[in-house]
Symmetry: C2
Subunit: 321 residues, 2 copies
């Protein structure tokens, strides 16, 4: 309405991911609303030659963190996604990025810290089987939401979307459909950011699953997780998050943490060795208990020669239901 609202501003958001203690973590900053937010920075239309360079610049300025792999995710431009816009400010469009790093380096910025991503998406961790939360809370409430619309706006399609996204259909759980699941929960009003700025919906006022993030940052993180889970299957990006040397068990645990599901040990080892992605260092790693393990390192050279092989993930037994 005001002339100011006509203008547009571009902000960059980064989902910076690392893995420690078998938990994928995302770097978050605290806000005054006590809702964690993804690190953000301006896009300097004069100083930044490209948006990715701009992102690397302010991330290193703010956190002293060395980013490895960086990939543009998506540009989020929905109306009123930013409170400043509601207050009459410019429309703030955010270009979301996925960035990978090792957690060895701590962010210098005390306001930033690593936070386990499954805190925000508890339904995405299937390493101990299907999370009880899904059968106990999510599915019943989604079903109620699907029925509440009956028979007007295609309730069948809602039911189908639920079954497909949450692994109730014959095709089972698909670890990459993170965004589809989040969007269902959002539409059904089961995540509290859905009712921000609006009146809470009738059937589910105040309900929330998982930890809330500021603005639409949980949506950006959902996009990042889905993209990363897809990526590790055909590009060797996991190594950006692994220590320079590692045992095959550590490797497998890292992949399992990201994918949110258990893998077959035998098949995993066969595929990794067949892919030629790693080579033994000759040393052994002494664990707290059990037989010592051979130590490996990533083969930088092979990546390009063999046409960027990756990992196909095989499901472990007993993970289906």
């Amino acid at each position: 309405m005001s002339a100011d609202q006509r203008s547009v501003a571009i902000e960059l958001n980064a989902a910076i991911i690392a893995v420690t203690d078998d938990a994928p973590r995302v770097l978050v900053v605290e806000t005054d609303q006590a809702e964690p937010a993804l690190p953000f920075g301006p896009f300097d239309a004069v100083g930044d030659r490209t948006m990715e360079l701009g992102l690397r610049r302010w991330v290193s300025e703010q956190t002293q963190l060395e980013l490895g792999y960086v990939e543009q995710l998506y540009t989020f431009g929905d109306q009123f996604r930013h409170p400043q816009e509601i207050a009459g400010g410019p429309r703030i469009v955010s270009v979301g990025y996925l960035a990978l790093t090792r957690q060895t380096e701590r962010p210098k910025n005390v306001q930033a810290h690593w936070s386990a991503w499954y805190d925000y998406f508890p339904w995405e961790d299937w390493r101990q089987g299907s999370p009880p939360l899904i059968a106990r809370e999510i599915v019943p409430q989604l079903r109620a939401w699907a029925h509440s619309a009956e028979p007007s706006p295609q309730p069948r399609s809602r039911r189908e979307r639920i079954d497909l996204a949450f692994g109730l259909a014959e095709s089972g759980w698909n670890d990459e459909s993170v965004l589809e699941r989040y969007e269902l929960l959002y539409e059904a009003g089961l995540v509290s950011e859905a009712s921000r700025g609006r009146a809470p919906r009738a059937p589910s006022g105040g309900i929330n699953v998982g930890t809330v993030m500021a603005l639409d940052h949980r949506r950006i993180l959902a996009t990042a997780i889905g993209r990363l889970r897809a990526k590790i299957k055909y590009r060797p990006v996991v190594f950006e998050m692994l220590a320079p040397t590692f045992t095959l068990s550590q490797f497998q645990l890292t992949v399992e943490a990201l994918a949110g599901r258990r893998l077959h040990k035998g098949n995993f080892r066969r595929l990794v060795e067949a892919g030629g992605l790693v080579e033994p260092t000759g040393r052994v790693h002494q664990p707290a208990r059990g037989r010592p393990a051979e130590e490996f390192r990533f083969r930088q050279d092979v990546v390009r020669e063999r046409g960027l092989p990756g990992l196909r993930l095989g499901a472990a037994p007993g993970t289906r239901s």
Copy 2:
């Protein structure tokens, strides 16, 4: 430098794709420089609730075209990508979209017309085998470019990138690496937009393969082709571009046109029928010559039930070299 240059503007670009006569086509508009451009429109920060709605709005206003599937591709924000910026105007960031439609509807706008996408990327069409252009011009010139940098900035890595992208490595041709190939040609100065606004490079002044497009629109189109080729393998988006009913041969020819390579007839039919994506209409299609073919239609309902199956593409014999 000027205060004006600090500001940012957002523009939306659409690669609108259809297939006719076994040629994938993209909708282009004429510019005063005689370089075809992708249709573009403003992002209305006040009127458009989302960017995708904004895109659909101006596309239908400009062309009366009904868009089917629409997907955000990438946001292009490199410095000086737009001539207005060089002239002191604002930094113009473009959000690129992929949109699919049938070509049955003609664009009402006389300035817009359908243009075969292989005109811009002649090296991407492998349906008659490896395009002679690759062995005769592209590879020799890329090799020269790789050697010219020797030994300073990793010539080995350049050589590897060339071999991998253009199918010279053992992994063979990968139809999805459209952007990687375009970027190599761009870096090597083999597409004339690379030298726009700069002095032509020493080894290849004025050289160009394929038809040039305005601004960085060929890069946007390369992104669109790569994304679409990847997508048709796991999501049934081809049907957005097919007639409502079709024969399996027409179906296969359309997929081949998009993928830029021949497929095995037997395998294609087996996979399509196994996927349950199509059902016979009971009618037959009478071709100009030869045996009449059964007519099929796409099964809307199955898509969701079966976990979004798609097409895995098997290479046809004799397409390798």
